[in-house]
C-alpha cells in the first residue's frame, strides 16, 4: 500500500471511528456534538464563555451621567479602571478568603468541585471586598471593547448569531457549571447569571438569555444603549472565544 493510500485508509478509519463515537455520544447532554452540513466534514471548535467581568461601582458611579467621560480614550480608561476579571479576583480574593484554592506550580489542577467553590468565594469577594455589582453603564459596554481590552483580542462580546447557535446541550453545560451549591443564596449571586450583554446582528446592544429552555434568546435591551447611567439588571458582561480545532 502506498503512503497516500495508507493515509487515506487511516483517515477513513478515523472518520468512521469518530462518527461511531459521535453516534454513541448522541444521548449525552454534556458533550453531544452536532454534525456539520457537509457530509464527511467535521470542523470542531472550542467555545469558551468567560466568567463575568464585573464593574466596581465605586469607580463607575462617580463617572456616570453628567460626569461621563466625553472622549473614547477616557471612556476606555474608565471601563478598565472599573473592570474586575476572574484572573484578577482569583489571587486578590485568595489573600482574604481562605477557602479559595489556587494551585501551586507542583499541585494538580483544581477539580470541578473546587472550581465551583472558587466561583462562590470569588462572587462573594467581588461584592463584599470590591464593591461590585453587575451594573455596567450601557454606553461603556456599547462603545468600548471591554472583552478585548481585559481578556485579550481573541475575546469578544457574544454576538446574536453566536447566542442563537447554542444548542440545548451547550446551554445545559453552561447552566450546570454555574449551578453551584450556594449559587442562588450568597452575596454576589449575580455572578451566576446567564443573562448576558449581546451584540445584535444589526450592531445594536441587546440582551441575551442563555438559560436552558429560554423561549427568546435575544431580545431588545430595555434601556437606551447610549445611556451614560448605570443599568441595574442581572445582565452579565461575559465574553466569548471560539477556537477552531484543526483536524
Amino acid at each position: 500500500m502506498t503512503r497516500s493510500r495508507a493515509g487515506a485508509s487511516r483517515a477513513r478509519a478515523a472518520i468512521a471511528i469518530g462518527l461511531f463515537n459521535v453516534a454513541a455520544l448522541a444521548g449525552s447532554a454534556m458533550l453531544a456534538p452536532r454534525l456539520g452540513a457537509t457530509a464527511g466534514t467535521v470542523m470542531l471548535e472550542h467555545v469558551e464563555l468567560s466568567a463575568p467581568i464585573l464593574p466596581r461601582v465605586s469607580v463607575l458611579y462617580p463617572a456616570e451621567g453628567a460626569n461621563f467621560p466625553s472622549t473614547a480614550p477616557a471612556r476606555a480608561d474608565l471601563a478598565h479602571a472599573a473592570a474586575l476579571t476572574f484572573d484578577f479576583l482569583l489571587p486578590a480574593c485568595a489573600a482574604t478568603h481562605a477557602s479559595i484554592i489556587v494551585p501551586g506550580p507542583s499541585d494538580p489542577p483544581t477539580t470541578a468541585a473546587q472550581n465551583a467553590a472558587n466561583f462562590e468565594a470569588i462572587a462573594s469577594c467581588a461584592y463584599q471586598d470590591f464593591v461590585s455589582k453587575p451594573y455596567w453603564i450601557p454606553a461603556l459596554v456599547d462603545q468600548i471593547d471591554i472583552c478585548g481590552a481585559e481578556l485579550g483580542s481573541s475575546w469578544h462580546l457574544p454576538s446574536e448569531d453566536e447566542v442563537n447557535s447554542f444548542s440545548a446541550a451547550d446551554e445545559q453545560v453552561l447552566a450546570s457549571a454555574l449551578s453551584t451549591p450556594n449559587a442562588t443564596s450568597l452575596f454576589g449571586n449575580f455572578y451566576f447569571s446567564l443573562h448576558v450583554w449581546v451584540r445584535g446582528t444589526n450592531g445594536s446592544l441587546r440582551r441575551g438569555d442563555l438559560t436552558p429552555g429560554a423561549t427568546a434568546r435575544v431580545t431588545d435591551l430595555p434601556v437606551d444603549a447610549g445611556s451614560s447611567t448605570h443599568y441595574e439588571s442581572d445582565l452579565s458582561l461575559r465574553c466569548i472565544r471560539r477556537t477552531t480545532v484543526t483536524p
Partner: protein, 135 residues
C-alpha cells in the same frame, strides 16, 4: 516554547518513534484541561493539547486509552498559567488506541504536550468551555 520545539511539530506518521506516556484520566464538567497521568518523565501533561481534548469530547479518544507521544518538545497553554520546571513535553500526542475499534495512530501531532509539571499548576480561568462541531 522555543523555536526548535516549534519546528519539531509535525504529523506523527508511520515509522516515527513513539513512546507511551500515560492514559487519559478525566474531563471535568467545567471543560477544563484534561489531565494525563504521569507517564514518561519528559512527556506527561500532553492532554492539555486542544486536539486531544476535542478527540476526547467526540469519543474518538476514549477514557482510558493509551496515548502516545512522538519525540520532540513543546508546550501549549490552555487554561491559565502553565507550571514551570518541567522537562519538554512530547511533540503532539500522535494517535490513540481507541478501545477495541482499532488504532488511530498517525493522525495526531499537534502543538506538543505540556512538559514536565505543566499539567500541574494550571489555573482555572473561570470560563466555561466545551467542544462542538462548528455551526
Amino acid at each position: 516554547m522555543t523555536p526548535s520545539c516549534r519546528s519539531a511539530h509535525r504529523v506523527v506518521g508511520e515509522g516515527d518513534p513513539l513512546e507511551p506516556v500515560g492514559r487519559v484520566a478525566q474531563l471535568s464538567p467545567l471543560g477544563r484541561a484534561t489531565q494525563g497521568r504521569r507517564g514518561a518523565a519528559d512527556s506527561h501533561g500532553f492532554m492539555t493539547t486542544m486536539r486531544n481534548r476535542a478527540r476526547l469530547a467526540l469519543g474518538i479518544l476514549a477514557l482510558g486509552s493509551v496515548v502516545w507521544a512522538g519525540a520532540g518538545c513543546g508546550t501549549e497553554k490552555m487554561l491559565g498559567s502553565v507550571g514551570t520546571g518541567g522537562a519538554p513535553g512530547g511533540d503532539g500526542s500522535g494517535g490513540a488506541a481507541a478501545g477495541t475499534t482499532g488504532h488511530v495512530g498517525g493522525a495526531g501531532g499537534t502543538s506538543g504536550g505540556a512538559g514536565g509539571t505543566s499539567a500541574s499548576g494550571l489555573q482555572f480561568n473561570g470560563s466555561i468551555s466545551f467542544f462542538r462541531v462548528r455551526p
